[in-house]
């Protein structure tokens, strides 16, 4: 029973998110305010459905759904959605929703394309640390994904302004200042969660294996990612790194995030490799 509900929930999440994304793209093209309002409500509905799906998955498996690739990516999408919605609550960045909803939809499609089988939790992961460590890390990824979208938009807009050839994007993208602010906020939030995720990981490792750090590929790459973001945060505070450089760094950082999430699992293995 719960199995069917869970399945239906995921399918509807996919459908609703597709609608939200389509509505945002229509808004991007037509710039009609009513369309944006509709798109926003659809995305909120998608966020609620995603939450429901994760709960159903929890009920189904009995543990926080972050262990298989399908679950991790779905959780990633969920974190991005709510990071965006919480962000949106505070201030608007023109057409940001279009880029973010597209990213969320892509994540959900990836999540839909891999195996959704549930498996009993391997003993190593049976811990109260699991939801904290993995959940916090994925929330961090959610914010960093927003910074990535913002960085992409910044580069597009900056190119129009510098080349002085105003194409399709110029009037549709927000001001550089707004995008830079966005980068700063998402980076700060993302970096805090990421740090917290790594710290909880260290503590869990100590509890489970007796060592704080064992240079597992995933750990190494997390550290590399963390350093990339540390440099950004540091440079922004000390010498005021901003604009193009910050945007490029946000994109590089997010690539490192994606590699840590997938690349490591597929290419390098290690204790973090969950069910493929």
């Amino acid at each position: 029973m719960i199995n069917e509900i869970s399945y239906l929930l995921f399918q509807s999440v996919l459908g609703i998110t597709f609608l939200a994304c389509a509505a945002y793209i229509v808004f991007f093209i037509t710039r009609k305010k009513e369309v944006r309002t509709i798109a926003r409500w659809i995305l909120i509905a998608s966020g609620i459905l995603q939450t429901a799906y994760l709960i159903s998955r929890y009920v189904l498996t009995g543990y926080t759904p972050v262990t298989s690739l399908h679950e991790a990516v779905a959780f990633f999408a969920w974190a991005s959605t709510w990071a965006y919605l919480s962000f949106r609550w505070r201030y608007t960045v023109k057409n940001f929703g279009t880029f973010v909803s597209l990213l969320i939809f892509i994540l959900l499609v990836i999540s839909a394309s891999v195996s959704r089988k549930t498996a009993p939790l391997v003993p190593a992961l049976q811990s109260r640390w699991l939801p904290v460590h993995a959940g916090v890390s994925l929330i961090a990824y959610g914010f960093l994904a927003l910074a990535f979208c913002g960085g992409l938009m910044y580069l597009l807009q900056e190119r129009e302004l510098k080349s002085k050839r105003f194409g399709y994007f110029f009037s549709r993208l927000p001001s550089l200042e707004a995008l830079d602010q966005l980068n700063s906020h998402c980076l700060t939030a993302g970096f805090l969660f990421l740090t917290f995720g790594i710290v909880t990981g260290i503590m869990w490792a100590h509890q489970a294996w007796g060592t704080y750090w064992q240079w597992d590929p995933k750990e190494t790459w997390s550290l590399i990612t963390w350093f990339i973001y540390l440099i950004q945060v540091h440079q922004r505070i000390t010498v005021g790194w901003r604009g193009k450089r910050a945007a490029v760094m946000a994109i590089i950082g997010f690539c490192a995030v994606l590699f840590t999430l997938w690349g490591v699992t597929f290419l390098l293995g290690g204790v973090h490799s969950y069910a493929r």
């Binding site: 105003f166 110029f170 200042e177 010498v239 005021g240 901003r242 450089r245």
Partner: protein, 425 residues
């Protein structure tokens, strides 16, 4: 059509790149160029317009032989090869020339369509030309007409409402860079009218502070006072860069005022906060390489065209309407111009008087019922005789070869006295 021709020759932002325009911009006022124009044989009336986007000469000439070459030489002064000149400039005759002048006056040929400054510049140029006594009846009439066409276009179309000159584009760009302009600071380098207008717009959009740097401090002080700002000397320019966000440069300097190497270190002290440079001077004040610096955005006057392109579709409809008005006015002017010749003036004068006689007779005769046919004919004859007697002197004046007056002046005078123009409308 009279024997003389109307000729318009010039370069503008569409025909000529900024680099070439810089070379021919007349920075030293109107006096000297007007004097040089007077030396070209064959120009009966002439007038010269020079703005940062265009240099145009409008002439009434007797014959066109060799004149084009002489004028090209006047414009370019040998600064670029003669065979290249013709690619850059446009030459219009008669109705084409009139049409172009009307388009320019009503700001349809401007870089920023609908900007109002051009009309002021046109009037200024006309003032110089008439002070120099270089305009005659034809150009006086033509230029005055162009002012009224501009007014008509402005009041009957929405062309002026959406964009007001360079400053509108500047504000639009500044908003894309800074988001809100609240508490941003703007520095005016050079205290020209253009800079003042741009600053007015920025202040209207909420810019917090205006700083004016000018070679003569008194002028800077005047302008600064207007915006409740501060005046600084040009030597402080680089120092000021640390605290302002937008810089509008419009000095009359012939060289670069601000180099890339001067700005790069400033970015460090600014903690990379973006800087927006607007260079509305011709020749340019700011180093074009500035645009390569991170977080620095440099726009010169040509770049602003691209911004204007964005607003094009909104204005296209209004421009069509304005174009129709211009066409209409060109036709009206040409009708007048043809009438300038003596024969049509005589015909028009005769017709007018005959018409008056006819109308009055038609009104009076039916009331005089007890008149015999003979008496009636006498009254008609008398009316015609009075008319002919009155017309005798003016017609004689028109026909006589007088060395005192130009035929154009005579025709114009008679047409004005007898109100022949109103009948054309």
């Amino acid at each position: 059509m009279p024997a003389e021709r109307i000729l318009l020759i010039g370069v503008n932002h569409k025909s000529t790149p900024l680099a070439v325009r810089e070379k021919i911009a007349l920075t030293d006022g109107y006096k000297e160029p007007l004097r040089r124009l007077a030396e070209i044989p064959g120009c009966r009336e002439y007038y010269l317009l020079s703005t940062c986007n265009r240099v145009e000469i409008l002439l009434v000439v007797e014959s066109v032989d060799y004149l084009e070459e002489a004028l090209i030489d006047f414009l370019f002064g040998g600064s670029i090869p003669a065979e290249k000149c013709r690619e850059y400039l446009y030459i219009y005759y008669d109705n084409e020339a009139v049409r172009h002048l009307f388009l320019v006056a009503s700001s349809l040929d401007s870089m920023i369509i609908g900007e109002p400054q051009i009309l002021g510049q046109l009037k200024e140029a006309y003032r110089h030309a008439s002070a120099h006594h270089s305009t005659g009846p034809l150009l006086n009439r033509l230029l005055h007409k162009s002012f009224s066409v501009a007014k008509r276009v402005r009041s009957e179309t929405g062309i002026g409402s959406s964009a007001v000159s360079i400053s509108y584009a500047a504000v639009q760009l500044a908003k894309k860079i800074f988001g809100s302009l609240q508490d941003k600071k703007v520095l005016l380098v050079g205290a020209g009218e253009m800079a003042e207008l741009a600053a007015e717009h920025l202040v209207g959009q909420g810019v917090g502070e205006v700083v004016v740097a000018n070679r003569t401090l008194s002028r800077a002080l005047d302008l600064a006072q207007k915006f409740n700002g501060v005046a600084v000397s040009l030597e402080e320019l680089v120092l000021q860069l640390e605290r302002v966000d937008i810089l509008i440069s419009s000095t009359g300097s012939s060289g670069i005022v601000l180099h890339k190497d001067q700005v790069k270190p400033v970015m460090r002290t600014r903690r990379n906060k973006p800087l927006f440079f607007i260079d509305i001077a011709v020749p340019r004040d700011l180093d074009p390489a500035l645009n390569d610096v991170d977080n620095v955005f440099l726009y010169d006057i040509d770049d602003l065209t691209n911004v204007v392109e964005l607003n094009k579709s909104e204005r296209a409809r209004e421009a069509v309407k304005a174009g129709r008005i211009v066409d209409e006015e060109v036709l009206k002017f040409l009708r007048w111009y043809r009438g300038m010749a003596v024969t049509p003036t005589i015909a028009a004068l005769r017709k007018k008087v005959d018409d008056i006689c006819r109308v009055e007779l038609e009104r009076t005769l039916p009331r005089l019922q007890d008149l015999s046919d003979n008496e009636r004919r006498s009254v008609e004859k008398m009316t015609m005789a009075i008319a002919s007697k009155i017309l005798y002197a003016p017609l004689n004046f028109l026909k006589k070869d007088s060395c005192k007056h130009d035929t154009n002046v005579k025709a114009d005078m008679v047409r004005t006295i007898f109100g022949l123009e109103e009948d054309d409308k």
